[in-house]
């Protein structure tokens, strides 16, 4: 039985040389690393943009709802039902509503804006209507990515006052989520006049 000599030549070679394998591996690693880095960066960008969008959406919507109630409030209450107005809690007194949605004289509803008692990243808007009012009760989550909310109370001439003396309320809301390079934050503020109280 003859054993064919296996010699290295270009024609009819079987397999790769060590050098070819090493070069191919190096190229493969480089290309893979480049592709993976693109993928990772792209994914990171998606997460970052997603948190930015989410934070921005929450800030806009939350602030809009808060300022809407401030405009319709008769006063800022010192406290109601265990909630006390402060730099981070807002208790508003609003006129009650009849069945047609019109103002009901002599009846007051309350709206509270406060952080959740167990999770301070959740901002809640709680509507506590009078038993005679047709305003629906509500306990709405405004955002689940709250970073901070600040209320400052002013009188009609712009001087800072205690909540019960306020005719204007400044609201600053900051939302955001994520950690490290994919974290994002959105903030918005508004100074709103109570239209149903002193000018």
């Amino acid at each position: 039985m003859k054993i064919k000599d296996i010699t290295f030549n270009k024609k009819g070679s079987l397999g790769f040389s060590l050098l070819e394998v090493v070069i191919a591996c190096l190229l493969g690693i480089l290309i893979s690393a480049y592709i993976v880095s693109i993928f990772v960066k792209n994914t990171g960008l998606v997460y970052q943009q997603a948190t930015t969008v989410s934070a921005g959406l929450d800030v806009n919507q939350s602030l809009y709802q808060i300022t809407n109630y401030i405009k319709q409030a008769e006063s800022v209450s010192t406290s109601y039902s265990g909630y006390t107005s402060s730099g981070s809690v807002l208790v508003l007194q609003l006129p009650g509503l009849d069945a047609s949605g019109n103002v009901l004289s002599g009846v007051s509803d309350y709206v509270v804006v406060t952080q959740d008692s167990t999770n301070n990243k959740i901002l809640r808007l709680i509507v506590i209507p009078n038993s005679s009012s047709s305003r629906p009760a509500a306990n709405t989550v405004l955002t689940t990515i709250l970073k901070s909310i600040t209320f400052i109370y002013y009188n009609s001439t712009g001087g800072m006052v205690t909540p019960s003396s306020a005719s204007q309320v400044s609201t600053t809301l900051i939302t955001g989520s994520g950690e490290g390079p994919v974290s994002s934050e959105a903030s918005s503020s508004a100074q709103t006049t109570l239209r149903n109280t002193g000018s």
Binding site: I35, I38, F39, N42, T43, L45, V46, Q49, A50, V53, G56, L57, N60, Q61, Y64, N68, K71, Q72, E74, S75, Q93, P95, G101, N102, V103, S105, G106, V107, S108, N155, S156, T157, V161, T162, S164, S165, S167, R195, N196, T197, G198, S199
Partner: protein, 596 residues
């Protein structure tokens, strides 16, 4: 071909990775698009709401101009959208405005907001503080409680156990008499019209110069004015002098002339400033009123054609703040009074460990024996505890004007007199009845549980006496408006009496005393034990509230709260509305504003 025989996995791997990246990108674009549309919707909503607010302002102005004829309007262009106004009559005094704002148009709106609010013709007044006190100051006796804030132009003194759940301001004291003044006597009195075009001249800014006799702070000025139509609040400035003209580059103080305090007949109207400027004796300064001008709503300043004031003269300009303002002299002297300060005021308690406490902030020149949970703004402090921040060297707060002017009271008296005059004393002994609107030229007394319904305004030229659980209540036809009882003599509210509104949220019965205690130290309004009153106003009088009294707001030249009195401020008092009145204009009825 040989290359087609090549085998490998790179292509599907590449396609897979590219697909992932593409998907991520699409998600990102989608979210960005969502954010864009959401933000756009929020902007449109805000725009629509602001357009509706503009519609409310337009409707008010139209009602004032044409009270019976304005029925609303449709698709009026404003900014990026349009508004429509619908006017509904609620009663003879009150109408409801329903204003809808659309962006960009009513036919294809991207956003729509509806504002409803009631408007009524009358006079508004703002009682911003639980107690507002004149130069006579405040005394709070043992265990009296104030749930609200205080603004006093005089000293505040408290006994042991006093609690003030609010802020305290004690203004720098004002001298009791005017330092400089000018007034006219007939036949030398003339209207000086400004705030409009007069004979082809836009007379918008008018000023009167003066020279103080002492070097001190200027605490307030009073201007003799009346209004034609319904001009808005105007800005008043104290300016230095430059070659005999107001110096626009030397504004020493700025204040506001409240249009609601001015009526269509002349009266001296107080103007307070945000800061009290230091003036030098025998130096010329200017009091200037700056207006924006309106053909139908403007002002008249009382002009002394005999030019009796020798330390100054008046002038007018079309634009005081122009690059080169032109000031034209006016023949005569405009009616004014200046009041200097320099009186040291304080808030003090009987002892530092007597249990008295102020839970809010304190602003006063001198603070003594006080326990303050908030911050303190002062120049001198003694034996006091401040839990918040201390601000030594703070300027004294400026004095504040009373929320109802003498001109307002005169207007209500005229309206009362037009309602009918009753000559002689009137009394109800255990019986019920109705009074007003009208004038009683005599005394009014209620006793033994009498209940009298009052239609506002009611003017009593003599004394008012209520005793033994009597009740004065405002008639229900007032709705959300408040009512007035004016008493020229003294008022005695004895045991268990009640003064109350008509039961509607925001409706109060306000007791106004014109009695002058400054001259004889006699109490203007005396509230007996356990009386329940709402709002008492005595700009020249002493209000004395006896043991266990319960009130909502007090404004007086001097106020004394006796043992165990509780005053709880009602925030609705920040925007009282009195229906009708000869110089009333349409105003928004607070508490009826809604966004839908």
């Amino acid at each position: 071909m040989k290359f087609l025989d090549n085998k490998g996995q790179i292509l599907p791997i590449t396609i897979f990775l590219v697909g992932l990246i593409l998907a991520n990108s699409l998600v990102m674009v989608g979210q960005a698009t969502t954010f864009f549309f959401n933000s756009s919707n929020n902007i449109y909503s805000d725009e629509a709401e602001n357009i509706a607010e503009a519609g409310v302002d337009k409707a008010l102005a139209s009602l004032d101009k044409n009270p019976g004829g304005y029925l609303g309007e449709t698709n009026t262009s404003f900014g990026a959208g349009v508004f429509s106004v619908n006017v509904t009559n609620i009663n003879s005094q009150t109408q409801q405005l329903t204003v809808t704002g659309y962006v960009p148009s009513a036919t294809s709106p991207k956003a729509k907001k509806i504002i409803t609010i009631d408007v009524s013709k009358g006079v508004g007044a703002s009682f911003y503080y639980g107690m507002q006190i004149g130069n006579g100051g405040l005394t709070m006796n043992n265990n009296s409680i104030l749930n609200g804030s205080i603004y006093s132009n005089g000293n505040i003194y408290g006994d042991d156990g006093v609690t003030i759940n609010g802020d305290v301001w004690v203004a720098g004291g004002t001298q009791p008499t005017a330092d400089q003044q000018s007034d006219c006597t007939d036949p030398n009195c003339q209207d000086y019209i400004f705030g409009t075009n007069v004979s082809g001249n836009n007379i918008l800014d008018v000023a009167q110069s003066f020279k103080p006799s002492v070097s001190s702070v200027l605490n307030k000025v009073s201007l003799k004015l009346r209004k034609i139509g319904t001009p808005p609040d105007e800005t008043v400035k104290i300016l230095g002098d430059s070659s005999g003209k107001p110096n626009k580059n030397n504004v020493l103080a700025t204040g506001t002339l409240s249009a609601s305090l001015v009526t269509n007949t002349y009266g001296f109207i107080d103007v307070s400033f945000s800061t009290s400027p230091n003036l030098t004796a025998n130096t010329t300064y200017w009091i200037m009123i700056a207006t924006s001008g309106d053909a139908n709503n403007y002002w008249a300043w009382s002009n002394d054609t005999s030019q009796g004031y020798v330390n100054g003269s008046p002038a007018w300009s079309s634009n005081w703040s122009a690059k080169y303002p032109v000031w034209t002299p006016i023949t005569g002297d405009l009616g004014f009074q200046t009041y200097m300060g320099g009186v040291i005021t304080s808030v003090s308690f009987s002892s530092s460990n007597g249990g008295s406490v102020i839970t809010g902030n304190v602003h006063a020149h001198t603070i003594t024996n006080a326990t303050i949970n908030g911050s303190a703004y002062y120049q001198i402090i003694t034996n006091s505890t401040v839990s918040g921040t201390s601000y030594p060297g703070s300027a004294d707060p400026p004095p504040t004007s009373m929320p109802i002017s003498d001109a307002n009271i005169s207007s209500w008296k005229s309206q009362a007199a037009n309602g009918g005059i009753t000559s002689g004393n009137v009394s109800f002994n255990g019986t019920n009845g109705t009074l007003g609107p009208g004038e009683i030229q005599g005394n009014l007394s209620l006793s033994n549980g009498a209940t009298v319904t009052v239609k506002s305004p009611l003017w009593i030229t003599g004394n008012l006496t209520l005793s033994n659980s009597s009740i004065l209540q405002l008639d229900s036809s007032s709705g959300a408006a408040s009512g007035i009882i004016i008493v020229d003599g003294t008022t005695s509210l004895q045991n268990g009496v009640t003064l109350e509104g008509d039961g509607t949220n925001g409706s109060f019965l306000v007791l106004v005393s014109t009695y002058n205690s400054e001259q004889n130290n006699v109490i203007a309004i005396n509230c007996g034990n356990s009386s329940s009153t709402q709002v008492m106003y005595a700009p020249y009088g002493i209000i004395n509230v006896s043991n266990n009294g319960n009130v909502k707001e007090l404004t007086g030249w001097e106020i004394v709260l006796n043992n165990n009195v509780t005053l709880t401020y009602d925030t609705g008092l920040a925007s009282l509305f009195f229906s009708s009145g000869p110089s009333g204009s349409f105003a928004l009825v607070k508490g009826t504003y809604q966004i839908k």
